[in-house]
């Protein structure tokens, strides 16, 4: 019996799978056990063809393959290579010890190795379990370039692997050893598809997005169709601080499991921007399904989740966001398993101010009655709205703004200010589990958002004169803290507070004639 090491994935974390191959005497047979899914099961036919097409002998006997631990469901085609190696070791084609080696890869019928998903979490598991060498398909090269403390080799086909073990194993010619890449240099080359400098006008929205980026605050943009809400949201990812190595690894793990990784970079360098359509199901947002997959909120981990036309999403979808917005992760529980996916994202939402879209606009006349408007706004529940710190109204830009030749500030300049504000917060929260102002709990708000007596008076007068709802209170304090951080001020000054107050329009939105 020969045991070969490979990997399995639950959620976004890997575990070691032992691929045991035994050839018993008796009638020829070929069995695969160990809770394989269909892709794994069909692998045994691929393996047989690949072995024969590479001119090796397929053993005559009762071939039994076991994937241990037997209780965990094995998914995907990554076991083709370890099974093939196990069979060839049993037939003495490979004679060297495979104790320090692990394998993963899908085989084609002629023995070529194909790209697989989940390589990064698998390699991290290998490091954790002190496995020295891993062989992966060539096409997964880039994904392996950021794992240190392990020798990773890529192989083009099954013959390369066999040749390597048949030789002296010092000359690695048949294989290619993966060189570690420099994260910083790659990061510097990261390209975003858009830039804030192309957004004309919209001064207040841009300022609010800057604050949202600096403090990690959730934000909702309210405005008529065509007012540029979507473009603003798309540019939001460009002003977020650059990803740190750890953030990038976390996000890459998730994208690797979902099979969304860009083969060219092999790592996620730009903060993800996910915009699921409003017909999205709860499972596609939260994750889960028969074969657990990360949902949109996890794919947006360390980035932006954009919900365009928020009231159009079905109620269940919106409500499920509440827990991840608090905990920054989501627990998917099914009868068969429980997996946890990280989901720490900034929520950017957009909505029209009323069903027809033109309430408050000067471009077109609104056709909605007050009760219709209230009903529309009511689609977003209070508890969810509670988790959105900034409410910004946008309107279509005027002709003057559009023809203004002066380009606006570019994303890089804004990003610099945002990064500086984040640095202040990192220092402030160095000994806690949180990283930004938006996630402060009640005690921290009390500690870090102290107001002068003048500030207290302003807030009091704002509540009395501006019809603010009580739930706005902590939101305003947190946003004011971020505005102060952007200004580099250790204290929250009155002007920071008044600016924060001005970004709470939804609290005051229902006024209309019912004031």
């Amino acid at each position: 019996m020969i045991a070969i090491k490979s990997f399995g994935i639950t959620g976004v974390n890997g575990y070691i799978v032992d691929v045991e191959v035994d050839i018993a005497k008796g009638l020829p047979g070929y069995t695969l056990v160990g809770l394989p899914d269909n892709a794994v099961k069909e692998g045994k036919e691929r393996v047989k063809s690949a072995i024969l097409n590479c001119d090796y002998k397929f053993p005559i006997g009762n071939v039994i393959i076991n994937l241990a631990p037997a209780s965990a469901k094995k998914e995907g085609a990554i076991y083709d290579l370890p099974i093939a190696v196990g069979i060839l070791a049993n037939t003495r084609v490979i004679t060297k010890s495979l104790k320090d080696w692990a394998f993963l890869g899908e085989l084609s019928l002629n023995g070529e190795l194909r790209r697989v998903n989940g390589v990064l979490p698998a390699l991290l598991t290998a490091v954790e379990h002190k496995i020295k060498n891993v062989i992966i398909p060539t096409d997964n090269y880039n994904e392996a370039a950021f794992v240190s403390g392990i020798n990773v080799y890529t192989a083009r086909n099954l013959a390369d692997v066999v040749d390597y073990f048949a030789g002296d194993m010092i000359d690695a010619t048949p294989l290619c050893q993966v060189q570690t890449a420099n994260f910083e240099t790659l990061l510097a080359d990261a390209v975003y598809p858009c830039d804030m400098k192309y957004v004309r006008g919209q001064f207040v929205a841009k300022r609010a997005l800057e604050i949202a980026a600096a403090g990690g605050h959730n934000i909702i943009l309210i405005g008529p169709p065509g007012s540029g809400k979507t473009m603003l949201a798309k540019c939001f990812q460009t002003i977020l601080p650059p990803m740190t190595f750890n953030e990038s690894m976390e996000t890459t793990k998730i994208h690797s499991c979902a099979g969304l990784l860009d083969a060219e970079h092999g790592i996620v360098l730009t903060r993800p921007f996910r915009c699921p359509h409003h017909t999205a199901s709860t499972v596609s947002l939260a994750g889960g399904g028969k074969f657990a997959r990360p949902g949109e909120i996890s794919l947006a981990h360390n980035g932006v989740l954009f919900l365009d036309e928020m009231p159009e999403y079905n109620r269940g979808c919106l409500e499920l966001l509440r827990q991840p917005l608090e905990n920054h992760s989501i627990m998917i529980s099914r009868a068969a398993m429980t997996v946890e996916y990280p989901a720490s994202f900034v929520l950017v939402a957009s909505m029209n101010p009323c069903p027809c879209g033109y309430y408050g606009s000067r471009i077109k006349r609104c056709k909605c009655t007050q009760s219709k408007i209230q009903h529309y706004l009511g689609k977003i529940s209070g508890p969810l709205l509670d988790r959105i710190d900034l409410h910004i109204e946008v309107d279509q830009v005027t002709y003057n703004d559009l023809t203004n030749d002066k380009l606006a500030e570019d994303s890089a300049t804004i990003r610099k200010r945002v990064t500086a504000a984040r640095a202040i917060q990192n220092q402030r929260f160095a000994e806690t589990l949180i990283h930004n102002n938006a996630t402060m709990d009640a005690a921290m708000v009390k500690k870090y958002c102290k107001l002068s007596s003048e500030g207290e008076n302003i807030l009091k007068s704002a509540f009395e004169n501006l019809n603010l709802s009580a739930r706005a209170y902590t939101r305003i304090l947190k946003v004011a803290r971020t505005i102060a951080d952007l200004a580099g001020s250790p204290e929250i000054l009155p002007e920071h507070l008044t600016e924060a107050i001005s970004y709470r329009s939804l609290d005051r939105f229902n006024r209309g004639v019912n004031e």
Binding site: Q202, R207, P224, S371, E495, T498, E499, S505, V513
Partner: protein, 283 residues
């Protein structure tokens, strides 16, 4: 809570002004402060599909009329009617096209209750009667007849408000109309009233009160508030029109944080008002 009472045609407290009608209501169901019927009344009417300008003017005129001793009559519909009732405070009469126990429109439930307590509800229909297509235009004749003057705040060219106005003119009531932007649908009807149908134009609340009472408005000028240079600059820009935040940035030359702070402060001391869509207007 006040009880519903009935007033029959011929009773001593039956409003005299309704006798001008060809078909005065045989009986009125009323709820609230009956004393209001003894005061001089002004009717304020307008479209449900109104603009912010209309709401502001309706409310403002109603407040001034109430201060000058008039009771403001309107129809409790959405839009201008609602603003007029709100502006008049307690001195207001709502004439319903349905029974007094029926809340319509439902969004005005609170307002209807408030008027039943401190103002007066009037209906010619039994308390539990649900209005229909014909009863709302019918109540307009009561609105038209009750006021010694009728003010049209906003109406487009096909608005039901114009029915009330025509009725008022046949009853020899003085008709006033609020002029508006000639490109705005909601002012086309009222502008037309001024231009072609003999309505008097309202230029400001004080003139209206002078016209109605024969003497100057007693309401005091608001005390002058201390304002800063920057605030004055904003007020100068807002003098002509409601302006969007972005345009204020361009015109004032202030940065976005500065302007946000300034505007919020000005709003809190009541110099300006923030409108939906991030527009600002001087108060």
């Amino acid at each position: 809570m006040n009880e519903i009472q009935t007033i029959r045609l011929g009773d001593s407290n039956y409003p005299k002004s309704l006798l001008d009608l060809k078909d005065p209501p045989k009986q009125l169901y009323v709820k609230g402060n009956l004393n209001l019927l003894n005061h001089p009344m002004v009717s304020i009417v307008g479209t449900r599909d109104c603009t912010r300008y209309g709401l502001m003017v309706a409310k403002d005129l109603a407040t001034h009329c109430a201060e000058a001793g008039f009771v403001v009559v309107s129809g409790l519909a959405e839009g201008i009617d609602t603003a007029a009732h709100q502006g008049a405070g307690e001195k207001t009469i709502a004439v319903l096209g349905n029974g007094i126990n029926v809340y319509y429109p439902i969004i005005n439930k609170e307002l209807q209750n408030k008027i039943a307590n401190t103002g007066l509800l009037i209906s010619e229909y039994p308390p539990d009667f649900h209005g229909d297509k014909s009863t709302f235009p019918q109540r307009n004749r009561i609105v038209a007849a009750l006021g010694r003057a009728v003010i049209a705040v906003e109406a487009d060219l096909h608005s039901g408000t114009l029915i009330t106005i025509r009725k008022a003119q046949t009853l020899q009531r003085v008709v006033y109309a609020v002029p508006g932007n000639i490109n705005c649908y909601a002012s086309q009807g009222t502008n037309d009233l001024i231009a072609n149908h003999g309505a008097k134009m309202i230029t400001n609340a004080a003139d209206l009160i002078k016209n109605l009472t024969g003497h100057k408005s007693s309401s005091q000028l608001q005390p002058v508030k201390q304002i800063t240079m920057d605030q004055q600059k904003i007020l100068n820009i807002l003098k002509t029109d409601e302006i969007h935040f972005d345009d204020l940035v361009m015109e004032s030359g202030l940065s976005v944080p500065q302007l946000s702070t300034l505007l919020t402060n000005m709003e809190m001391i009541g110099l300006i008002e923030k409108l939906p869509g991030n527009y600002f207007i001087a108060k």
